[in-house]
């Protein structure tokens, strides 16, 4: 029983982080119909920005409240900027071109980022994994039995931050004017432009929000797993994308459900069944979902009108 509870906690922890990243994917797909392969790598860049900030602050300041807030702000702000630049210079010129072109560009950027950061020239960190500094001093908040189940403060805080960000996003998309503009653009961006919505700006801001969320997720991930490396973006990004597809790509709550499901299934498969098959789990689920319910759990396979 204790083992089950611990697995549950672990699964939820990784699920919420996948959810944050999946949200970025799903939002961008919603407005642009583009799978932004570079999303995971933008997350990685954000983590390194946070790492650099933490280092600059020094061992004492990085643990203080304002230090942590600053680290988050720098990482999320930096990623928002990066997302803006990528959209502006790599995706916008290709908006009217066939989708394949933009997909290839996205992969190119993903590659350039993840392999570029593996060089150790200049400010690029190099391939070896590093330990993310301890910015939240770990304290046990809940212990059941003789350390049968342990819940840490940062796990709870991470969950709260993730949920907070998700609620904020939900509010933004459904309760604000800008959110309405975003939804309009996702239905049909040409007509939305005709209605007077500044589509370019909406898309740019969508990208920025998605990237900022990814950076936040990345920092939570770094706090959870300590080790940061240039390749971390690829795998997390891929799994988050699978989660978004499972939930129905373009569907915001679906992405969250899909991600939580993925986190839990992964955890239980590895914990109770064969741990050697972990990497295959995500894709296995994906293929099953695509065969059974092609639109994802919540999505609809919309008929394409010409």
């Amino acid at each position: 029983m204790a083992q089950l509870l611990q697995h549950l906690i672990n699964g939820l922890a990784s699920g919420t982080i996948y959810a944050l990243v999946a949200l970025g994917y799903t939002m961008v797909y919603g407005v642009l119909k583009l799978i932004n392969f570079a999303h995971g790598d933008v997350m990685m860049v954000g983590v390194y920005m946070g790492y650099a900030t933490a280092f600059a602050l020094g061992k004492q300041a990085q643990k203080s409240l304002w230090g942590v807030v600053l680290i988050f702000l720098v990482a999320m702000g930096g990623c928002a900027l990066l997302g803006f630049l990528i959209e502006r210079f790599a995706y916008r010129p290709l908006r009217e071109k066939p989708r394949l072109t933009a997909l290839i560009t996205a992969i190119g950027i993903s590659f350039a980022l993840s392999y570029g950061f593996q060089l150790d020239i200049g400010f690029l960190p190099g391939a070896a994994p590093r330990a993310f500094p301890e910015i939240i001093v770990p304290t046990e908040w809940l212990i059941i039995g003789d350390r049968d189940v342990v819940v840490w403060n940062w796990q709870v805080m991470s969950l709260l931050i993730a949920v907070g960000l998700m609620v904020g996003l939900q509010y933004l998309v459904f309760k604000t004017r800008f959110g309405r503009a975003m939804r309009a653009v996702s239905y049909d961006h040409r007509v939305a432009a005709l209605m007077g919505i500044p589509t370019d700006r909406v898309i740019a801001v969508t990208f920025m929000i998605g990237s900022a969320l990814a950076a936040g997720a990345g920092l939570l991930y770094a706090i959870k797993d300590t080790s940061v490396s240039p390749l971390m973006g690829l795998y997390v990004g891929l799994k988050a994308f699978v989660a978004a597809v499972i939930g129905g790509i373009g569907h915001v709550p679906g992405a969250v459900v899909g991600a939580l499901m993925l986190g839990l299934v992964e955890e239980f498969v590895v914990g109770y069944a064969a741990s050697t098959w972990r990497d295959a789990v995500a894709f296995g689920i994906l293929i099953i979902v695509l065969i059974a319910k092609p639109g994802g759990l919540f999505g609809r396979v919309a008929a394409e009108k010409v």
């Binding site: 394949l100 190119g108 392999y115 593996q118 060089l119 699978v242 098959w277 894709f283 994906l286 092609p294």
Partner: protein, 343 residues
């Protein structure tokens, strides 16, 4: 061609190619490095041309080609290992080896084609973007599968596979894949593929069974990827999952995109260029005397440069080198024209 019996006409190119590649191999027999490099190049060409059928001619987006290569490599490798001690008594050993090699290559290719069918059918029913993720995932599943299976050598890899793939066999299959690709492009079957690439909805409206054609193209492409993998297993001393990663798939995608999506000769040119580039850079750095760190950094810098190259290509010249045309259609326009007429 007059004078050639109809039954032989289709096979004629292949019959001509066979002695050519054998002679080619014998000529290079004294230079193992050239042999090895050209074998790698041949494999890359087969991969690029076969991926071009799906990504170029049919306009789909498959980024898991290395997964099918792995299937072909491991199936052919395991079969070869089990047949290692056997020869055909009525043929000299060398020829018998080639016969067996051909057999295991075909079986590996068929295995890869079956995988292509299994993977392609559900995903090609849907929107194109899903194929990308599914093919990517497939590569990963293959890797995990191999790592967990003792028969495939797990993480250490499969070694001891008889190294029987010479330039002759590689060259032969390069020839076959190019032939198939060209014939496909010029046939009515190929025209349906182009139609799907241009506008899938219109093609469906015109009565083209889009799913069927897409799956067929995918299966053909996977078959040749499996062949490439099988060949690879028979001249590289050991194969392990590290040779068939997502990075390898991406390298093939770069070749196809650079050469021009839909151009067979473009894919060939790009494959040759990208295979020779690291070696050329190594030679260049050695000649310049800047040995050590710079030459080593070349391999490191190669990957991010590929990424940036893709981005630049898409922004500046999305049709790649040749677009959808072949080299003989593009080149004359690049050459200076002779002025005819009154000049």
């Amino acid at each position: 061609m007059p004078g050639v019996p109809p039954g032989l006409r289709g096979a004629l190119p292949v019959l001509i190619a066979l002695p050519v590649v054998v002679v080619f191999e014998l000529l290079l027999a004294g230079s193992p490095f050239a042999t090895y490099l050209l074998s790698i190049m041949g494999v890359n060409i087969i991969l690029a041309v076969s991926l071009n059928i799906v990504n170029g001619m049919t306009g789909q987006f498959s980024i898991g080609h290395a997964g099918f290569m792995a299937v072909g490599a491991y199936v052919a490798g395991v079969l070869s290992l089990s047949l290692k001690e056997i020869a055909l008594s009525f043929l000299p050993v060398a020829v018998s080896d080639q016969v067996f090699l051909l057999l295991v290559l075909l079986l590996g290719g068929v295995a890869a084609a079956v995988c292509g069918f299994v993977v392609g059918l559900p995903s090609l029913r849907l929107r194109g973007d899903y194929l990308a993720i599914v093919t990517l995932g497939f590569g990963e599943i293959i890797r995990v599968f191999v790592q967990n299976t003792e028969m495939f050598g797990r993480a250490l890899g499969l070694s001891g596979i008889p190294q029987t793939a010479g330039l002759g066999m590689v060259g032969f299959w390069v020839f076959v894949v190019v032939l198939v690709a060209r014939r496909l492009a010029g046939s009515s079957h190929g025209r349906s593929l182009w139609a799907i690439r241009e506008d899938e909805v219109a093609a469906e409206a015109m009565g083209v069974d889009t799913t069927g054609y897409k799956v067929r193209a995918f299966v053909i492409s996977s078959f040749f990827a499996g062949i490439a993998g099988g060949l690879f297993a028979h001249f590289v001393p050991i194969i392990n999952p590290g040779s068939f990663t997502f990075v390898k798939s991406m390298e093939v995608v770069v070749m196809v995109v650079m050469g021009g999506l839909g151009s067979t000769t473009g894919a060939i040119v790009a494959a040759v260029f990208l295979t020779l580039l690291p070696e050329a850079l190594r030679s260049a750095f050695a000649a310049m005397g800047a040995e050590g760190s710079l030459a080593q950094k070349v391999d490191q810098i190669r990957m991010p440069v590929y990424g940036l190259l893709l981005v630049a290509l898409m922004l500046l010249r999305p049709q790649g080198l040749f677009g959808t045309k072949e080299i003989w259609e593009v080149l004359p326009r690049w050459l200076p024209r002779r002025r005819k007429g009154l000049a």
